[in-house]
C-alpha cells in the first residue's frame, strides 16, 4: 500500500491472545455447574413428555388390540374400487381448482397489501399498520376455520372452500411478499433512477426483475400447500375429494375410501413435484 514511498496505513494490530469464552478460565467450577444443568434439563424434558401422555390419555394396550380392527378395515378396503375411477375425476378437478382459485386470488390481494406492509416502500404509516393487521388476522385464523365460517355464510360446496383458501393465503403470502420487498436490493433502482428513467421504467426494469422470481416461487409453494389444505376442507363440506372421502367413510364404502386416498396421494405428489420443478425454473 505504500507504492509512493509514504506509509499511509497503520499496520493491523496483532490479534490479542485473550480467551473468548470467559467460562473456559474456570474449568472445574463450570464443569460441575454444567453437569447439574444437564440433569435439570433432562428431568424437565422427561416431565414435559410424560405429562403429554397423561393429557392425551394414551393407551398403548388399545393400540395393540386395535391392530386387529385395522387389519379388518384394510382387508375390506382392498382392492380399491377401480370401477369408480371415473366418478372421482370431478372431485379431483374440484380439489385442484380450489387450490388454483385460492392461490390466484390470494396473490392478487396479497400484492397490494404487501407493498403497504413493507416498511421501506409503504405509502403511509397508517396504511402500514392496517396492512400488517389484515395480514396477521388472515394468517392466524386457520383455513379450516375460515371454511366453517364461509360454509355458514354461503352454504355447502366448493365456493366456501375457495374463499377460505383465498383469505388464508392473503395472510401467508402477504407476509412473505412484504419480506421480499423489504429485502430488495435498492442498488439497481438507484442506478436506473440516475439514468433519468421514469418511475414506471424504474419499476418495470429494476423492481420487477428484482422481486418477480421470489414472488413466483412463493406463490408456487403456496399452491402446493393450498392443494393439501383443500383436501381437508372437504371434511367441513367445502367440496372436492375431501367431501367424497367423508361421505364414503360415513357409508362404510371402504373400497371407495382407498381409491380416494390413492387419488389424494397422486395429487399431492404431483403438485409437490410440479411446483418444485417450476420453482427451479424461475430461480
Amino acid at each position: 500500500m505504500s507504492v509512493d514511498g509514504t506509509t499511509l496505513y497503520v499496520a493491523p494490530r496483532s490479534a490479542r491472545a485473550e480467551p473468548l469464552d470467559a467460562s473456559a478460565a474456570r474449568p472445574e467450577q463450570s464443569g460441575l455447574s454444567r453437569r447439574l444443568l444437564r440433569i435439570v434439563v433432562g428431568l424437565v424434558v422427561v416431565g414435559v413428555v410424560g405429562q403429554s401422555f397423561v393429557v392425551v390419555q394414551a393407551r398403548p394396550e388399545d393400540l395393540i388390540t386395535g391392530v386387529h380392527g385395522m387389519v379388518d378395515l384394510l382387508s375390506r378396503a382392498m382392492p380399491p374400487a377401480w370401477s369408480e375411477s371415473g366418478d372421482i375425476l370431478w372431485p379431483s378437478l374440484e380439489t385442484i381448482d380450489l387450490a388454483i382459485f385460492g392461490t390466484v386470488f390470494g396473490v392478487l390481494m396479497a400484492l397490494p397489501l404487501a407493498v403497504m406492509a413493507a416498511a421501506n416502500v409503504t405509502p403511509a404509516r397508517p396504511l402500514y399498520f392496517l396492512a400488517r393487521g389484515v395480514i396477521a388476522l388472515t394468517r392466524a385464523v386457520p383455513d379450516l376455520v375460515w371454511a366453517l365460517l364461509f360454509v355458514t355464510a354461503v352454504g355447502l360446496g366448493p365456493f366456501p372452500g375457495a374463499l377460505a383458501l383465498s383469505v388464508h393465503s392473503i395472510g401467508m403470502l402477504g407476509r412473505l411478499f412484504s419480506e421480499v420487498i423489504e429485502d430488495m436490493d435498492f442498488g439497481p433502482v438507484e442506478a436506473l433512477t440516475l439514468t433519468g428513467a421514469s418511475r414506471l421504467q424504474v419499476f418495470t426494469h429494476a423492481v420487477v426483475p428484482g422481486v418477480l422470481p421470489s414472488l413466483l416461487g412463493i406463490s408456487l409453494y403456496r399452491f402446493d400447500e393450498n392443494l393439501r389444505s383443500s383436501l381437508v376442507l372437504g371434511f367441513v363440506g367445502a367440496g372436492g375429494i375431501g367431501f367424497r372421502l367423508l361421505t364414503a367413510m360415513n357409508l362404510f364404502q371402504y373400497q371407495t375410501v382407498s381409491l380416494l386416498l390413492l387419488a389424494t396421494f397422486v395429487l399431492v405428489m404431483a403438485a409437490e413435484r410440479g411446483s418444485a420443478l417450476l420453482r427451479r425454473q424461475v430461480a
Binding site: 509514504t6 497503520v10 439497481p188 442506478a191 439514468t195
Partner: protein
C-alpha cells in the same frame, strides 16, 4: 508519473460546479459544511478522505439522491439542487454514476443491463412496460467492446466477476451519453490489477472522450497515478484541492495522519 499527465485545457467547459454545498442529515449530523468544487471536461478529479469525511454524501448530493440543505450543484450549467420532477429527470441525463457494487440488475443479461442506461433517453410505452429499445443494441455492443468485455453480452449479470461487473456498469453509464461521471469507490472490491484497469479506463474516458470524471478513492497511490487533480475532504470541508504531483503526496499523508491522531 504525474509529471507526464496532460493538463486539461484551462479553458475547457465546466461540467460540474459545486458551490457552498451544505448537507445536514435529519439526525442533525452536518456531513458537508460549505464544499466548493469544479470539474471540467477532460478532467479526472479524485476525492480522498477518511471514513465518514463526507465523500459519499457529496456524490449523492450532486446526483440529488440526497437533497442538499444549502448550496448550488451545477451540472452542465443546470442547478440540480433546485430542480424537481420531470425537470430533474431531464437534467440527470447529463450525469451518470458508477457505484462500489456495480448495482447491475442481477437476473438480466449483460447486454440488457447496458441498454438499461439508455432508458432516460428512450421513454416510450414499450420501454415503460419493461421492453428494451432495440435500436440501442448496436451502441450497447460497441460500449461493451470499449470496456473490454464484448464476449459477455449474453451472460446473466449475476454470473460476472467483480471486475467484469464494474466494466459493465461503466458501459451502462456510457450508454446514457453523460457529460459527467460520478464514481464512488469504483475499485474498492477489485484486485490490484483490475483496479488499475478500471482507473485506466476512467482516465481514458476523460482524456479521449472529453468526459468529466469525479471519483472517490481510498487508494492515494491510484489517485496520484491516474487523476489530474486530487481533492482532500476532512469533516465535510475541502482540506486541499491540488494537481496530482509530489506536493499533493504530502498533503495526502497529512490528511490521513491527522485522522489517526
Amino acid at each position: 508519473m504525474s509529471a507526464t499527465l496532460a493538463e486539461p485545457a484551462r479553458g475547457a467547459e465546466t461540467r460540474l460546479a459545486v458551490r457552498g454545498l451544505r448537507m445536514r442529515y435529519p439526525n442533525g449530523k452536518l456531513a458537508l459544511d460549505g464544499v466548493d468544487l469544479t470539474v471540467r471536461a477532460g478532467e479526472l478529479v479524485t476525492i480522498l478522505g477518511s471514513n465518514g469525511s463526507g465523500k459519499t454524501t457529496l456524490l449523492r448530493c450532486v446526483a440529488r439522491l440526497l437533497d442538499p440543505s444549502d448550496g448550488e450543484v451545477l451540472v452542465a450549467g443546470e442547478d440540480l439542487a433546485k430542480l424537481n420532477g420531470n425537470a430533474l429527470r431531464e437534467a440527470r441525463l447529463a450525469l451518470a454514476m458508477v457505484f462500489q457494487r456495480a448495482n447491475l440488475v442481477r437476473r438480466r443479461s449483460v447486454l440488457a443491463n447496458v441498454v438499461g442506461g439508455t432508458l432516460g433517453r428512450r421513454r416510450t410505452l414499450w420501454t415503460a412496460l419493461g421492453g428494451l429499445p432495440a435500436e440501442e443494441l448496436p451502441l450497447a455492443r460497441e460500449l461493451l467492446s470499449k470496456v473490454g468485455v464484448e464476449r459477455l453480452g449474453g451472460q446473466r449479470a449475476d454470473t460476472l466477476s467483480g471486475g467484469q461487473a464494474q466494466r459493465v456498469a461503466i458501459a451502462r453509464a456510457l450508454a446514457q451519453r453523460p457529460k459527467l461521471i460520478l464514481a464512488d469507490e469504483p475499485v474498492a472490491s477489485l484486485d490490484p490489477e483490475a483496479a488499475e484497469e478500471i482507473m485506466r479506463l476512467l482516465r481514458a474516458l476523460a482524456e479521449e472522450s472529453r468526459l468529466a470524471v469525479l471519483c472517490v478513492l481510498h487508494q492515494p497511490a491510484l489517485a496520484l497515478r491516474y487523476s489530474h487533480r486530487v481533492v482532500g475532504l476532512r469533516d465535510g470541508v475541502v482540506a486541499f484541492d491540488l494537481p496530482a504531483d509530489r506536493d499533493a503526496d504530502l498533503h495526502i499523508a497529512l490528511l490521513y495522519k491527522e485522522m489517526a491522531a
